[in-house]
Symmetry: C2
Subunit: 335 residues, 2 copies
């Protein structure tokens, strides 16, 4: 196969019999070109199937923007990250920007290389769900005008825009909800202990749980959550209720309750809503976040920051809702 050469602006100019700058004017709709000339240029461009090279233009353009947002999430295939991504994408496309997406599976060691790669590509903004315990390596990049927005988790070592929910409050409320239904022996099942969200949810749990506490952390998959729940429920002194800190953990715990035939005996409240939670038996009570809105808000903050680098840093705390469905209202031993 012979590769057909790609037409450049110069080729279009030659075919239309005009100068390079005139083609540029027509392509960019600058308007100050006579109708007849513009038509000739457009015809030549169409004939050559000319498409301007966006990045070549960006190189010389005075704003030096790539109209690209770099997005770093846990895993696009997880419904939570998927919804965040869609929120970012929708705002970006409204503003004419494209989105480069990267999943880091909440692995601490992948944050830096992935961020570095995105900065190498000169993204205007970086929307990051951080995993490391320090983001100060981004301070110099921020000083150069790259918009930095942290989504879902707060950063450490840098003062930047953030979109989060009040994880500790929502978790404490979930625990109190279980207590109101007669539970005192409430176990916490959580994911990676080093993540800010996990720490906050644990803090909320501990602040409300009272004397009896039981904590299992670092559950990074449905199956590890399943194993952990099984161990807890079959072990000595089992809890009468579970508070699970994340959607995969919740689902793993539900599978364990099923396996043991305990779905109607052990109460459960999960952090994060998920599809079909209302059709399970019992339906699952959850702390719902709005991941799509988290994504939208993060992207909006990014564009606000690009528009005005001097605006005050904004910490946006989005609401959560306790969605009462049944699993969290199973009566405890004290009722």
């Amino acid at each position: 196969m012979t590769v057909r050469p790609r037409a450049t602006m110069r080729d279009v100019a030659a075919l239309a019999g005009v100068g390079l700058k005139t083609v540029s004017r027509v392509i960019n709709d600058e308007g100050t070109v006579s109708a007849a000339t513009a038509t000739r240029v457009r015809r030549a461009a169409a004939q050559l199937d000319y498409r301007p090279d966006f990045y070549a233009g960006a190189l010389k353009r005075s704003d030096r923007k790539t109209r690209t947002i770099g997005l770093v999430v846990g895993n696009v295939a997880n419904p939570f990250s998927g919804a965040v991504s869609r929120g970012v994408e929708d705002v970006a496309s409204e503003r004419g920007s494209a989105v480069l997406i990267s999943s880091v599976d909440d692995e601490v060691d992948r944050e830096y290389p992935v961020v570095d790669h995105l900065l190498h590509r000169r993204v205007d903004a970086l929307i990051l769900t951080p995993t490391r315990d320090d983001q100060s390596y981004l301070v110099r990049e921020q000083e150069r005008g790259t918009a930095l927005v942290f989504a879902d988790r707060r950063p450490v070592g840098i003062h930047a825009d953030v979109v989060v929910v009040d994880n500790a409050d929502a978790s404490a409320a979930a625990v109190r909800h279980l207590q109101a239904h007669g539970h005192r022996e409430i176990a916490y099942l959580g994911d990676q202990a080093l993540l800010w969200t996990a720490q906050e949810r644990l803090r909320g749990y501990l602040s409300a749980a009272g004397d009896w506490t039981r904590v299992v952390q670092d559950l990074r998959s449905e199956s590890s959550a399943y194993d952990a729940a099984l161990g807890l429920l079959e072990g000595p002194n089992p809890p009468s209720a579970l508070f699970t800190s994340q959607n995969l953990v919740t689902i793993g715990a539900i599978r364990a309750l099923r396996a043991l035939g305990l779905t109607d005996r052990v109460a459960l409240v999960g952090f994060d809503d998920f599809e079909l939670a209302d059709l399970l038996d019992p339906p699952v009570t959850v702390v719902r976040q709005e991941p799509y809105e988290i994504g939208r808000a993060a992207a909006e903050l990014a564009f606000d920051r690009l528009a005005d680098p001097d605006r005050p840093v904004e910490i946006r705390v989005l609401p959560t809702t306790l969605v009462v469905r049944g699993s969290g209202e199973l009566p405890g031993p004290l009722r």
Copy 2:
């Protein structure tokens, strides 16, 4: 805030007291630089927090590659598209490429503008889930060496690499499965009639359904599928089984069966597996695809094409599995 200027290769060269080309050699690990000079350059680069501009380099580089893949899916927030995206992303990142993602919600009129935008950014490869009934507008782009891979649905008017499953076969098998359990009155609930996948699944259904057929199409959301299923089940001559053509349609139908208390009477087989299908009552029998593998395969074909533009076009048909769980085995009136 004063924006700190971004260092260029020229700045690093000046600080290190070497020529521009020497910095380029060190940054790109070309190796032919003395250890002492390399160290001086690296120190200067670190001091300035220098990061090369990837696209500036790409402009002059002889391969003219942007190491970017453009991905167009239905909706990243849908678990099917999310898994496809992750498959693409994993292969791309193994090969050092980034992924620009776009959701078009299977809207016919958004395919072209989104594709055009990605080509404007000179993606090396475009992985596209097509929605229009014609992709011949991409032929000239293909001739210029852009790798084109169609994922999930076949294109029209262009000869290019494709990753699909055998939708018609799998659908016919699903219908025969219901028939084997005593059903003859099987209704088809499908999404947008103009999509290739919808057409193929309908074709499979019709080829196996026999005399009694009932077809509702153009269900684009869970709620429209809910309404359609309700209408069918409450109307005259209701079906004894449903075959639903896609995950959202399946879930809408399940909600309708619930609302009518028919989950144990009307059988159901859905196309696409989904999280928690096994925990519903009854558990849902589905035709499972492997969306992550579809994404991986599409990305692999894209890189294969880039490596060898002359290789024969490859149509990769990935397997599906009928996952028997209960809803599809409810006995029909003939049993």
